[in-house]
Amino acid sequence: MLKMTDISKNFDAVKALSHASLSVKPGEIMALLGSNGSGKSTMVKILSGLVNPSGGTIEIEGKAVQIRSGADARRLGVAMAYQDLSLVPAMSVVDNITLGMEPTGRFGRIDKKAAREKAEKYLRLLKVDVDPATLVQYLMPSTQSMVEIAKAMATEPKLLILDEATASLHSDEVDALFEVLKVLKEKGTSVIIVTHRMGEIFRICDRCTILKGGETVACGEIKDMELDDIVFHMTGKRPDHSVTEEAAQDHLYKEEDLLLDVKGICIPGKLDQVDFKTYRGEIVGIGGLDGQGQAEFIRAVLADGKYTEGLIRFKGREVHYRSTADAVADNMGFISGDRARESIFPIRSVAENLFAAKATKGGLFAPLSARTIQEFANKAIKDYGIVAGSTSHPASSLSGGNQQKLVVGRWIALSPDLLLLDDPTKGVDIHSRHEIHEILRQCVKNGMSIIYVSSDNEELLEISDRVYVFYEGKISGQLAGEDRTEEKLVAAMMGLTGSAEKGAKE
C-alpha cells in the first residue's frame, strides 16, 4: 500500500529525518513510535503534504508519487488527524468536517442537508455527542480531537494517519475510536498510529516501526515483540520496572528541611493529584515525555496558572500567591527555556539584563545609578563566566549558551530560596551546559534549592539528587540515590510503573 524509503528532511541545521523508511500493507494498523523529537510527526507530515522531504521516495500502491500539498494528499487517499489539529476554530463542526469537499447542489451552492448528514454520520460513528452547528472553538479539547479524527475519516481515505490523536482523549473516546478503526481495517483501510501510550499499541496495532533520532531503527510484528524491546529500540535503554512512586530514600530527609510541599494539586485535564516535595539544598529533577503536565505544574507553583484543588506550602507556610510577582517577592526564581519569549530583553545591554531581576527588589522610584548596575554586572560576569564583548553590548549579541548563563546569573544573584528551571539548557551547547550545571551546584552548596525540568534524560540524572517523573498528569515514578538509572527513568516515562502501568495495559 505505502512504501517510504530513504526519507530525509532537514530544517535548516536540524536533521529531523535521515534515511528513514516506513511501509504499510493494505488493511494494516501500523504503530509509528519514537521518543520526543525522533521525527514521527515530520514523517507523517511528509505524507500529508505539509512537509517537503529533502530526499527519498514515496510509493503508494506501487506508483511513485510526489505529495506537495494537502490537496495532493487527499487526491491520493491519504488523510491525517494532526497532533496540533487542523481545524478552523471560528467555523462550525459541519463546516470543518466537510471543508474542501462540500457537497454541492444546484448552481454550485452547498447542499446544507447533505453536509450535515455527512458530518453526523461520522460523529455518530465515533460516538461524539456534539451539535454540528457549534463553532469548534467552543468545544472541549478532547471533543476537538474527535472532530479532527471525524474530519480525516470523512474523506474516506485509503490511508488514515492519527498523529497522537489519542493524547487528549478520554478512555471511552479511545474505545469508540478503536472500534471504528477495527471496522476500517476490515474494509482494507491502512492506518498509521503515532502514540506514546504503550498500552494502545498492544490493543490495536499489527506492526510497529520505531524511529530514533530521525532513523528507522526497528520494524516488526507486535505479537513478536515485548514491551521492553520496543522501549529499548526507542530509547536505547531497557526499562527497569522496579520504579515506585515513593522514593526509598525519603527518610534521609529531615522534616524541618522541607522547603516546598505540594499536596494533591489538580488542574482539570492537565494535572491529577500531584504530590511533590523539595527539601533545602537539593536539586529535584522533573522528567517525562513532552506535555505530561510538567510545565503546568511549574506554572501552578509560580502562581502563573490556576489550580482547582490542592495545597502548596512554601517555607512551612501555606501560600496562595495572586501573581508571579508575589512568588518572586517570596524568594522564588524562575528560568524558562524559552529565552526569546520569556527571559531575555534582547536590545537592552548585558548589564541591564543581569540587573533585571534585582530591579524588582527595592522601591519603584528609588534612585538607581548606572554605576550600581555596572558593578553588579561585572561581578556577575566574573562569577558565572559569561563571555561577553562588553557589558554595554545588547544581550542579543551573545550566543545562546551565554544568553542562558546571563539569565541564570540574573536570578542567582538574588539568591532565592527556590529556583525553578524549565528546560534551561534547550539549545545550549555541551560546554555551556556544564558551566550552568557547575553554577547551580555551587548555589545548592550555599543552601539554595532547585527544581529542574529537563527533556534530556542524561542531563536530568546527572544534575538531580531526586527525580520526579510525570506521566499523563500524574507522578509515575520517583527516583533517588541508587534508583537514578536511565532504565528506570525510561520505564517511568512510558508509564510502566505500578498504578500507571495498570492503566496502560487495561
Binding site: 507530515k45 505539509l50 471543508l99 474542501g100 454550485g108 452547498i110
Partner: protein
C-alpha cells in the same frame, strides 16, 4: 423573538449594528432639529437617499475590501484602483470613440485584471499584503496620472440622469446596484468558495492541510474585489461626471476602518458582508452629521475641523469595537502580524 435577538447578539455584525443604529438615530435627530416643518415629508427621504448616490462608490469599495479581509488580507490600494476605473471610464470613449457601454465593460475587465495581478503578487510571490498594497498605490497612481493628469473629462449627461433616477419614484439606481452586489454575496456565501475563504482567514496552514488551494482562492477573491471596485469606479464616474486620478486614495483606508468597525476580524475568518455595510453606514452617517452639528455651533469652522471631529468619532468607534468585541481583541495582534509578514500556509517547509 427572543431567539432572534439572541442570534443577532451572537452574530459578528452585532457591534456594527449598534453603531449603525446609533449613527442613524443621530442623523434623523439632526434632521428633525434643523428642519422640523418638513421632517415628515418626502424631502427627508430624498436627502437620505441622496447619501447613497454620493457614497455608493465608497460602499462598493468597502464590500470589496470585506471580501479580502475575511481572508485576513487588507488592500490599502483599493481606493486608487477605484480612481483607475474612474479615469479609464472617462477617457476610453474619448480616445477610441467606442460606445460608452463597451468602454465601461472594458473598464470593468481592466479593474478585475489589475486586482488579479495584485492577488497574484500577494499569493504566489508571497509579498505581504500591506507591502504589495503600498507598492500598488504608487504604481496605480502613476497609471492614473498617465491616463488623466488632471481632474476633468466629459461624461454624457444621460448617464448622470440615469444614475440619479428614482425608480418607481423611491429607489435610486445606486441602491439597486448595491442591492444586486449584496445578492451576489448572499449567493457566494452559500458556495464552497466562501467556506474556503473563511477557512483561509481562520487558519491558513490548516486550510492548506485540508487540501484547499489557498493561493488560487486568494486570487479569485482579489478578482471579485476588483469587480466591486470597478463597479464602484463606474458609479463614481456617473455620480460626479468627471475623471479624477487620485481622489479615491482615501477610500482605501476608509474601507478598512469601516470593515473593522462593522466587526470583521482583521486577522480574517470572522465577519459577514452585513458587518461591512453597517460599518460603512456608520462612517458615512457620522461624516454627514458632523458638519451639521458644526453649523449649529456659533463661530466658523472649516472642513478640517469637520474631518477632525468625524475622524475622532470613528477612531473612538474603532477602539470601542476592538475592546468590546472579543474576536477583534484577540485577533488584532495576529492580524497586524499577518499584514506585515504575510500569510503562512507553507511555513513548515
Amino acid at each position: 423573538m427572543r431567539e432572534a435577538f439572541k442570534r443577532i447578539k451572537k452574530s459578528p455584525a452585532y457591534s456594527g449594528l449598534i453603531l449603525f443604529l446609533a449613527a442613524l438615530a443621530l442623523y434623523f435627530a439632526l434632521q428633525l432639529i434643523q428642519d422640523p416643518e418638513s421632517f415628515f415629508t418626502f424631502k427627508t427621504y430624498r436627502s437620505f437617499a441622496g447619501l447613497f448616490k454620493n457614497y455608493a462608490p465608497l460602499i462598493l469599495v468597502t464590500m470589496g475590501q470585506a471580501l479580502l479581509m475575511l481572508m485576513g488580507i487588507i488592500d490599502i490600494s483599493i481606493g486608487v484602483q477605484l480612481s483607475f476605473a474612474n479615469v479609464l471610464a472617462v477617457m476610453l470613449p474619448e480616445w477610441t470613440g467606442m460606445p460608452i457601454a463597451a468602454a465601461w465593460a472594458l473598464t470593468l475587465c481592466a479593474s478585475v485584471l489589475l486586482n488579479t495581478i495584485n492577488g497574484l503578487v500577494v499569493s504566489y510571490l508571497r509579498i505581504p499584503p500591506l507591502l504589495a498594497g503600498y507598492a500598488m498605490i504608487y504604481i496605480v497612481k502613476g497609471i492614473n496620472l498617465a491616463i488623466r493628469s488632471a481632474p476633468g473629462g466629459k461624461v454624457p449627461a444621460e448617464i448622470n440622469l440615469f444614475y440619479d433616477k428614482m425608480w418607481g419614484g423611491v429607489l435610486p439606481t445606486s441602491v439597486i446596484i448595491i442591492t444586486l452586489c449584496y445578492l451576489g454575496w448572499a449567493f457566494l456565501v452559500r458556495t464552497p468558495l466562501m467556506k474556503h475563504v473563511y477557512a483561509i482567514g481562520g487558519n491558513e496552514r490548516n486550510a492548506f492541510a485540508t487540501g484547499i488551494d489557498s493561493a488560487r482562492t486568494k486570487v479569485k477573491m482579489y478578482a471579485l474585489a476588483g469587480l466591486l471596485t470597478g463597479i464602484g469606479g463606474l458609479c463614481y464616474t456617473a455620480a460626479y461626471s468627471t475623471g479624477n486620478p487620485i481622489t479615491g486614495e482615501i477610500y482605501g483606508l476608509q474601507s478598512i476602518s469601516a470593515c473593522i468597525l462593522g466587526g470583521i476580524s482583521l486577522a480574517g475568518g470572522w465577519g459577514t458582508m452585513s458587518c461591512a455595510l453597517f460599518g460603512i453606514g456608520f462612517q458615512v452617517l457620522i461624516q454627514t452629521a458632523v458638519p451639521r452639528i458644526f453649523s449649529m455651533l456659533p463661530g466658523n469652522y472649516n472642513t478640517y475641523w469637520h474631518n477632525l471631529a468625524s475622524d475622532a468619532i470613528i477612531l473612538i468607534g474603532l477602539i470601542g469595537t476592538i475592546f468590546a468585541v472579543k474576536a477583534q481583541r484577540t485577533t488584532l495582534v495576529t492580524g497586524l502580524k499577518k499584514q506585515v509578514k504575510g500569510g503562512g500556509a507553507k511555513d513548515e517547509r
